[in-house]
Symmetry: C2
Subunit: 311 residues, 2 copies
């Protein structure tokens, strides 16, 4: 059995994921829970981490690298932001140490865009980007990272030149539960990217994004006038939101930029179908792989680079 | 003192307005309350109307003309829809009678657009349109009617050729209260169309509506990075929603259509400022005057046309 070398943590707003890894980045153990920042801010961050470390019997000397909301102002220890334009390697230099007895724990910073017109922040996605793109890349890229607040990022070589957050996931959730559209989507089953109502809505919204607040209303009026069923209404709402996001995201970049989708799970399928429906070619990178690769690069740089040099 | 000739009622989802009028449409008495369809569906429509008629001592013989949600399926008596393309005068022919002992009560129908791509419905706005435009109009018009679900209507002569509902007011409300943006707008004061954050947001959203779900996020990131205050964040959110609506609404019509704004109260000021900020010329028609004029035309046609012919 290989020796554990470090622990990597992706600490989001509502989710906690931890991996125990060896020196070759093989996963020796994994933990997932709902103890994201929102929960941990109440119970304390150290106890959450300690309980998971104890569960995998991590030695006390094992260092821990963390990305995500644990570094927010309302998180564990504020890790600040690197400002755009930002080399991805600058994220490594901005890591802050947590004052923990004995154990070396570091939290990676986010990236901020401080323009007055388009202020924006990310936390966690910078580590996915690092893992997906690396520190020695060249060429122009446009990277789509779907989620509660999806990010579209323009990358030139290994520099993040700009980005935009789209509230796609949260707006879907709020409209489905709190608006008049809740009547139309009540009882909807899960759907995937092959649902015709999803694809039609993506195509329509990507073509006419200025109709956003009208298109969403058609989930309700379609139910009233055409008997649109709940699952189709939900697929339609999702398609309108993702199609509008795609129109906005693609407008951030000039022609010729390569489009990368960094996603996993259900969102991966939905966004792949949506980008296809909107007529775009792209490459998919698994988001789970990307964040672990980014955390691994950070661990190598922060914990093991001296050892390597002296080896 | 002039004799009362009829009673006119605008019965919305959440509001009830009643006027006692003489034969020359002079207002002899007015009642306003929150007993809209939502309330009246529980307490009963007849008791609500009766209590207001009693309060103004309306004679039992006085006829009542009603528009709005009282004619919805979940309303008092379903008044159906006239389908587009629809002459505004067709609304008069679609009125249904309420089975009330002795009193002549009629409810006007709504207008429906049954296309599969853009299903839509209105109730109440058709009566405002009738009052604002009349039955003998000519030329092309684009009519903006702001509200919880704003309507943009294309009118050719005296025919409604198409329309679209935008969920502007409801989305503002839901995002302000239920999303992450609630942190940014908490404690906001009221603002009007002169607020610089409102005007800047309208201009930005009208120019780049595809960025809608990103622009709304800047209400939050602007607070995090630039200390945007709550009132400015709220004005910005409102401007983004109205600017996006304007971009969508104006796309419904060809060049050269005259833009009419049918609005009153605070929304009138906001939309006048927004249309100006987006660079459009328009004429304003007071929405309260318009609905009363429409109800008056209906009353003349339904209750008094025989009397006139025989006079």
């Amino acid at each position: 059995m290989t020796e554990p070398a470090y622990v990597a943590v992706d600490w989001g707003t509502s989710s906690f994921r931890l991996w125990l890894l060896d020196a070759e980045d093989n996963v020796l153990a994994e933990r997932r829970s709902g103890e994201g920042m929102t929960t941990a801010a109440k119970t304390g961050f150290a106890p959450v981490l300690d309980s998971h470390l104890a569960a995998i019997q991590a030695p006390a000397s094992l260092p821990v690298i963390i990305c995500g909301m644990a570094g927010a102002r309302q998180g564990w220890v504020e890790a600040g932001y690197v400002d755009v334009p930002a080399r991805l390697s600058a994220v490594l230099g901005g890591a802050v140490a947590v004052d923990a007895e004995g154990r070396d724990i570091r939290i990676l910073p986010g990236i901020a865009q401080r323009s007055m017109d388009a202020p924006d922040v990310m936390r966690g996605e910078e580590t996915q980007l690092l893992g997906a793109i690396g520190t020695g890349a060249s060429g122009e890229r446009l990277v789509c990272m779907p989620g509660t607040h999806s990010k579209w990022v323009t990358v030139s070589g290994d520099r993040v030149t700009g980005f935009a957050s789209f509230m796609t996931g949260e707006v879907f959730d709020v409209l489905s539960k709190q608006s008049i559209l809740s009547h139309a989507v009540a009882g909807a089953d899960s759907f995937d990217g092959t649902h015709p109502a999803f694809r039609a809505a993506v195509e329509m919204a990507a073509r006419r994004p200025q109709m956003f607040t009208n298109l969403i209303f058609t989930c309700r009026s379609g139910q009233l006038l055409h008997g649109l069923d709940a699952t189709a209404a939900s697929a339609r709402l999702s398609g309108i939101l993702i199609g509008t996001e795609i129109a906005g995201g693609l407008s951030l970049s000039g022609e010729g930029a390569k489009v990368h989708l960094v996603a996993s799970g259900r969102l991966k399928g939905l966004y792949e179908a949506a980008l296809e429906a909107a007529g775009f070619t792209f490459e998919t990178i698994d988001a789970d792989d990307a964040v672990r690769a980014g955390l691994s690069m950070a661990a190598q740089s922060l914990f093991f680079s001296d050892a390597r040099t002296s080896a």
